[in-house]
Symmetry: C2
Subunit: 246 residues, 2 copies
C-alpha cells in the first residue's frame, strides 16, 4: 500500500467571507486531490489580515504533506499574501529577479506601463520557486510545502495544473456510490454494523432531499479494491434485507 | 457606533473535502451575516473526525461572538457532530427528552419505525437548546455561543432563519461597488493611497477576467455612510484622473 499523502488549503480574501464572491476553488482542489489520491484534510477561509494568514499557514503546513493557498497575490494594497507567507516562514519578502524580468518584458511587449502596483506581483518570499501562470503571466510561487496561487478561478486552475504533476501522490482512494430509496433513519443502525465489520473502508451516508422526499446515497471509499468490493456486497445485502422488511 | 459582532463557521464533512459534495452553505451564511451586520471572520472545513471537530470548535468559539456549524447531525454512524460538540464543551452527550418526544410523535404519526438510528438525532450535549427544523423535524441545537445545524442546504437555511433573529447584530457594513475598465496593475498604486487617506473604510479590489479581458471591481465598505461617501468620491476622482492619462 502506498504512502498516505495529505493536503490542506487556505483561501484568503475578505470578499469570500463577506459573501460578495462565492468561492469556486475549494471544490476544484477537492476534486483534483481525490483524483490523484491525496487526502484533503482541512480548509480554512481567512480574511486579508496578515496575522490571520500567518496563523493558518503555520498551523496547516506543519500538519499536512502539502498546503495550497488561493487569493491575495495581485497588484493592489489588499493583496498581502506574499508578505504573509514570507512572515510565516520568517524570511524577507523581496522582488524576485526572474519574475520581475518576466513581467517587465510582458508589459513592455504590450506597451503597458510597468507600474509600482504591477511590480508588486514580482515580490515573493526569498527562496521561493515560481508556479507558471499561462493566463496573466504573474507567477504564483512555492516555498517549502506551500503552494501559493491566484484566487481568480481560471488562473488558479491553470496554476494547479502546473503543480499537480510535481506532487507525490498517494494510493488513489477508490469509491463506489449506492443509491437507496430508504431514508437514513432506517439504514443508520445496520449501516453502522457494516462499517464496523469493514474497518478498511470509510462508509459515508448522504441524505438527499428532493421534491419533499428523502433518499440516501451511500458512498464506500477504500484504498483497496478488494475491501471496497467486500463492503459493497455487504451494503447491498443489507439494503436488500431492509427493503424486504419495509 | 454599535458594537462589532463577529462570527465563524465550521463545516463538518468528509464529502466536502473529497469534492463529492460542493458546499453551498458558506456563501449563504456569509450573505446572511453581511445582511445583518455581523462580520464573518473565519471558516474551517473539517472531516468527520472528533478531534478535528473539537479543535476547530474550541479555537473559534473562544475567539468570536458566534460560531455556526453545519453537517453531521443525521442518524448514521458518520454523524458525530453532537458527540464532538459535547466533548468540546466537556459535557455529556445524551438523549434530549423534548427532542426524543418530538421525533417519537413525528414518526408514530407517520407509521414509521423509530429506529435506534433515528433516536440518535435526539442526542445533544447536556444543556443545549433546540433550533427548530421546519423541514424534517429533528432539531439542531445551540450551546453557549455555538449553533449546530444540518448540512443539507434547505434544512440549514431554514434553521438559520430561526437563529438569526435571536442574535445581537452589529452596525451594518455598508458597501458600494465601482466597476472600472482599468486593470488592477494601473489602479493599484493610486488606490493604495486612497485607502491610506480613508482609514475608516475597507477598500477591496477584485480582478475580473472575462472573455480574455481584465477589468476591476472596486468595493468600498464602511460602517459610516459619511466615510463611505468620502472614499467613493476619492476613488471616482482617482479613476477619472487615470482614465484621462490612459
Amino acid at each position: 500500500m502506498s504512502e498516505i499523502v495529505t493536503a490542506a488549503m487556505v483561501v484568503i480574501g475578505d470578499e469570500i467571507l463577506s459573501g460578495r464572491t462565492k468561492d469556486r476553488n475549494i471544490g476544484h482542489l477537492a476534486d483534483m486531490m481525490t483524483a490523484v489520491g491525496i487526502d484533503l484534510k482541512e480548509v480554512r477561509i481567512v480574511p486579508d489580515d496578515e496575522p490571520a494568514i500567518v496563523e493558518a499557514v503555520n498551523a496547516l503546513r506543519a500538519r499536512f504533506t502539502y498546503l495550497f493557498t488561493t487569493g491575495g497575490i495581485g497588484p493592489t494594497h489588499d493583496d498581502i499574501t506574499a508578505d504573509a507567507i514570507a512572515a510565516a516562514f520568517g524570511v524577507p519578502c523581496e522582488y524576485d529577479e526572474a519574475a520581475y524580468r518576466l513581467l517587465e518584458e510582458h508589459y513592455a511587449a504590450r506597451g503597458i506601463e510597468f507600474t509600482e502596483a504591477r511590480k508588486r506581483m514580482a515580490r515573493m518570499p526569498r527562496g521561493a520557486g515560481h508556479i507558471e501562470n499561462p493566463i496573466s503571466v504573474a507567477p504564483g510561487f512555492s516555498i517549502g510545502n506551500v503552494f501559493v496561487m491566484a484566487g481568480v478561478p481560471s488562473i488558479f486552475q491553470a496554476m494547479l495544473d502546473n503543480v499537480v504533476p510535481t506532487l507525490k501522490t498517494g494510493a488513489k482512494l477508490l469509491s463506489v456510490s449506492i443509491p437507496s430509496p430508504l431514508p437514513e433513519g432506517t439504514i443508520g443502525g445496520p449501516l453502522g454494523d457494516v462499517q464496523k465489520e469493514h474497518p478498511d473502508t470509510i462508509i459515508g451516508s448522504y441524505p438527499k432531499y428532493v421534491d419533499g422526499k428523502f433518499w440516501t446515497e451511500l458512498v464506500i471509499r477504500s484504498r483497496s479494491e478488494e475491501s471496497l468490493k467486500g463492503a459493497k456486497a455487504a451494503v447491498e445485502a443489507m439494503l436488500d434485507e431492509l427493503l424486504k422488511r419495509n
